[in-house]
Symmetry: C2
Amino acid sequence: MENLKRIETGDAESGTAGLMRRIGRAARKCAHELSLASTEAKNYALRSAAAAIRARSEDILAANARDIAAAKPSGATGAFLDRLALDVSRIEAVASGLEAIAALPDPVGRLLARFERPNGLIIERVATPLGVVGVIYESRPAVTADAGALCLKAGNAVILRGGSESFHSSRAIHACLVAGLIEARLSADAIALVPVTDRAAVGEMLSGLAGNLDVIVPRGGKALVARVQAEARVPVFAHLEGIVHVFVDRDADLDKAKTILFNAKLRRTGICGAAETLLVDRACAPTQLAPFVKMLLDAGCAVRGDEATRAVDPRVTPATDEDWSTEYLDAIISVRVVDGLVEAIRHIETYGSHHTDCIITENQERAERFLREVDSAIVIHNASTQFADGGEFGFGAEIGIATGRMHARGPVGLEQLTSFKYRVHGTGQIRP
Amino acid sequence: MENLKRIETGDAESGTAGLMRRIGRAARKCAHELSLASTEAKNYALRSAAAAIRARSEDILAANARDIAAAKPSGATGAFLDRLALDVSRIEAVASGLEAIAALPDPVGRLLARFERPNGLIIERVATPLGVVGVIYESRPAVTADAGALCLKAGNAVILRGGSESFHSSRAIHACLVAGLIEARLSADAIALVPVTDRAAVGEMLSGLAGNLDVIVPRGGKALVARVQAEARVPVFAHLEGIVHVFVDRDADLDKAKTILFNAKLRRTGICGAAETLLVDRACAPTQLAPFVKMLLDAGCAVRGDEATRAVDPRVTPATDEDWSTEYLDAIISVRVVDGLVEAIRHIETYGSHHTDCIITENQERAERFLREVDSAIVIHNASTQFADGGEFGFGAEIGIATGRMHARGPVGLEQLTSFKYRVHGTGQIRP
């Protein structure tokens, strides 16, 4: 019947394109309602969704087993399967993650600024939702809950497009989010999951769903982010890579530097805040370079170095120019000796990715200069680069880290998922 | 020599495309230097530019006379010529405008937030420049100075592309800005004016100059803004149109309503904050509609109304559905009687442009509801919509008004021309 009508009216909205357009329109339609939803309703939806996830954990595990069974014969790697797999404790983490987001302050309606004009007008800048957020992610089922919940809490409608290998798991989790929305009498369209694995759905999202998508957040590997950044016709909150530097200044405390460097590189090597390059001031290299290199090598970290670095240990292999712009996400580090702060900053400007960079020094002046001149989303003095994380920043949760300069930069938490408007309070003022 | 080299290396960067790419690269190259420029240097450049404009006013007037002489035979309208024309007092206004921007606080380096984490990390969010701003404007020579100065003060490099009819005037003004930059020992590339009138230059800017343009601000008529919004591959700060509503609630004070309405519609009819539609609550229409309509008609404003409005005065012509979504920018208003606040909000949601909307009422509860539920950049209670202006908001100056929700919304002043970064101060913290 509906198909018939479409043919009659010449409406070509069939197939994935038509489906995505309809999802976009439905999201836009409920975005306004959602922008006005009370904090209580949003939190009730999140807590109800958490309860549904606990209650339906058997269903979710069964759906996940289907995904795993399908992924294994296709030659999926162990790391891939690990990201895809759910178990009882991971499901509990998903549920409690929803409750944690419910417990965060509502970012909508915050008074961001207030000023009174000489004519008596009172002008307030107040946070409002962004509108419709699209999240494109790989096969990590938990992102369905995380991303959906963060967008909902910030008053946004969200369209989720998960990796096809996690299709059944994501659907099962999504069903719990929808149950929460219905329980709270919010529109079930507020959190949409693209119900097909067709890759054309991603293309439609990148085109902006005819104006019904305000921003896209890609979550996944470099290939995904690169495609989204290259093709999206709407703003993107993302970072392509984290080529994170630790610069050890001539006035660094050796023990502090070793502790921070070890943590920055090796606490976890696969996260975007992990250090990839160590820069050592030539002035302290004679005493400090060897201990750093030895510590890293002894801990099982491969070291690729410039000539000066190779001179301190035969286990160091030569770094090529490509190494300076490589995000290893592994137990590998590139090491270079630089002529002080200025050359360090120049190296970071040339090879870095504007994500997170760190200086280790006891010299306050040079620390300030580094923090000022290095043009990265996060610049750190005397602490591990692995603090580059919304949770560690106290944002409660993050949907990702952005390296762009527009709207969001650094960890993207609830605040960055909002916009604002001006409310002007008058008593009859007119403009002369 | 340079051409030869290009042929030898197979570099196809010739013509307008090559020129624009080179301008983009030069802008990006100096953006970093500019982001670190001192407040004093930036202000000195602006004041020196103002002095140059006064000193060279004869040259600027001569250049302007060339533009006017070229425009007249091509059938330019009076309004167009008025926007294009400079005289001694307009040149003085340009110069003092530069000094006014020099006098504004520097938006770069402002501490936007500061929080201490339980582990002792101190995290600051600090304002930084956006990078490279592109401004595409029509033949208003003064915009060259305004837009260039605002971007410079916010630490951005800027690429200006003015209307071809103001080419010589804009060049003469631009030369003064460059003189100011040189005087202050800042890079002359910080404020670039596209030196060709070729329309392909705009297309190159819309494509983002190979990643060397961070945001585009179009300033001009609807056709220009529509093209930029449709084609730009980078973020755009703009509003397509201002379909501005005044809603007179049942509890409005009649005199206050008349005063505000008159000012909102007729103070200046050609600005984006001018009212285009009057909505009157049916509950007060019997007493208030006739006085509003008579006042507007008597002042020479054409009134296009729904049936109820036409009933109060024979001079009212019928409003079509198109009227509700028309920005007249003229002494014309559309008038409709609505069933209270809810229908007023629905009308604004259906036909509005999310720019500026106003409620007139003495009922605080309904005022709050209007301010909350109307999803426009600026929502006003009991004051003229013509306050929708960066100057009136106390921003000192504005580069335009944005209706998008990303990064900037409402008047775009110096603050909105900045981004931010996080500075993390540690004492050796590592992540557990």
